[in-house]
Amino acid sequence: MTRLSYFLALAALAAATSAQAAELPAEIKQAGTLKLTVNSTYAPMEYRDPASNELVGLDIDLANELAKRLGVKIVWSETPFAELIPSLQTKRADFIISGISDRASRRETADFVDYLGTGPQFFVMADSAAKDATDLCGKKVGTTRSTSFPVEIEKWSKQNCETTGKPAIQYVPGENSIDVRNQLKQGRIDAAVQGSETLPYAQSQEPGKYRVVGEPFAKGYQGIMFRKDDAVLREVVTEKLTAMIADGSYKAVLDKWGLGANAVAQPMLNAAPQ
């Protein structure tokens, strides 16, 4: 199905359900709680506030607003990034909203309701000589090894370095975005990659330290991840999210975290291009 037909399907669904609001699955409704799991190392999407140790972030705010509209409380739990998909599969989490990119390879195990624009972004130390992304050909570039970024870097390097006869980027693995930035500061790597949505925050924490190079090099979306067999919950959440976009509360959350430019016009099902 094309993306347009997804829009139409969702629009039709919205029309069909507007008369009769979709219901939460009985299990969740009865418990009155949503079980959500995040990987809290990805500021500003989700992280522990250093002062209060509370879970905060754009995803946390969106989820709280969703829960309010669904009339349920959220029980949060945390896990390493690589364990997010298993958490969903084992039903430890009802759905996952944790800065995770919608990717074709992940759609084998889950459906994504895309809610935020994103893309991998090269960045370097402010005093680096690199001006354009192609200056990074042959250099060491680090990123979190449990994300989709290593594959993206390899693909980009093939298209932009190797086809023009330049040496390929040398990928260096890191444990999480903080570890990757530490490697960059120590000079273990010449450049790093993070989701574009996390860089304004990282830069605000250490002003003047980093500089982005070029544009996000692949367009994608962050998605709320649902189990394949959980269409009911997926539709209810999609409906509430659509309403939040319509009444501006979605935009307010994005603006609060300085990511208004990453907004989507409406939720999309499995719509990221890769």
């Binding site: 390879s105 090894r145 530490n182 500061k185 120590q186």
Partner: protein
């Protein structure tokens, strides 16, 4: 030879009777129960949501084999460093020199008192503190070029192991009778010579079982170096499941390899024990 004394009056002659075997009902029952439980577990795993084809496919994948080689290289080198430091520190600890004693106690306190993973992260991120390291005027280099994941893992694991091994070595040296030191002195040996020729060879017999234990721990402790990007077995298995999401399958692959390695090490330890117990074979049973 006197004939065997006749049985006393009133006692029956038992010599012709067969000794009945005890039936051991409970042994049979417990064995049957355990077999049943094992069968249920095997059945549950066989029918569970595990794609066994992934396990067999990745069991001998190149990255996994490289991982096990890196794991073993690191375990052997870190253990060697640990034993070297352990012997050194144990000797210092038992020396009459108060300076050496204090240094040894301080080393054990520091490296046994902090978690291993914390020490690994400190070594790996050392360049945040010292961007360049070297000998003033002679040689210097960027810290990250020196402190590779390999060296950071080796120093972290080896120095931590040294703190534990020093206590094992000290126990071994204390187990050698004081008379042995005195006898060595009596024939004119110095302290270090007595240690090398008389005390340590006897201490070896005592320290081999705990050292074998520590080495088996070390094989598995190398997996902590995955967080500082040393490409050992678990790190490489994780990299595969980060890409294909087959978490359990790859964890089983790594687990099987760790089990295999430890299964090979256990009899090796017994051989080593036998070698160092040559003088006291009766006790080494």
């Amino acid at each position: 030879m006197k004939p065997a004394p006749a049985l006393a009056e009133g006692f029956p002659d038992l010599s012709g009777m067969r000794i009945a075997r005890e039936p051991h009902w409970f042994r049979w029952l417990s064995a049957a129960l355990i077999v049943l439980v094992l069968a249920a577990i095997v059945r549950a795993f066989a029918g569970g949501q595990i794609e066994w084809s992934y396990v067999s496919r990745f069991l001998t994948a190149k990255v996994i084999l490289e991982g096990i080689v890196n794991t073993m290289v690191m375990a052997v080198l870190a253990m060697a460093l640990g034993i070297f430091l352990g012997i050194l520190v144990a000797i210092m600890r038992l020396s009459p020199n108060p300076v050496l004693k204090t240094v040894a106690a301080g080393y054990t306190w520091l490296f046994r008192g902090t978690p291993l993973i914390l020490q690994l992260l400190l070594w790996f991120n050392l360049a945040l503190v010292f961007p360049t390291i070297g000998i003033p005027g002679l040689w210097s280099a960027r810290a990250v070029d020196v402190m590779t994941p390999f060296l950071a893992a080796l120093l972290g694991l080896g120095i931590n192991q040294g703190a534990y091994t020093s206590e094992v070595m000290r126990a071994g040296m204390l187990s050698v009778d004081i008379g042995q030191y005195e006898a060595a002195q009596a024939i004119g040996m110095g302290r270090l010579r007595a240690l090398r020729r008389i005390v340590l060879p006897q201490a070896m017999r005592v320290v081999i079982p705990p050292l074998g234990n520590e080495f088996i721990s070390m094989v598995k402790a190398t997996s902590l170096a995955s967080v500082i990007q040393y490409p050992e077995l678990l790190h490489n298995a994780e990299n595969i499941y980060y890409a294909n999401s087959r978490v359990i399958e790859l964890l089983i692959v790594a687990g099987l390899w760790y089990l295999l390695v430890v299964s090979i090490l256990t009899p090796l330890q017994m051989l080593l024990e036998r070698r160092f117990a040559r003088g006291t074979l009766r006790l080494a049973r």
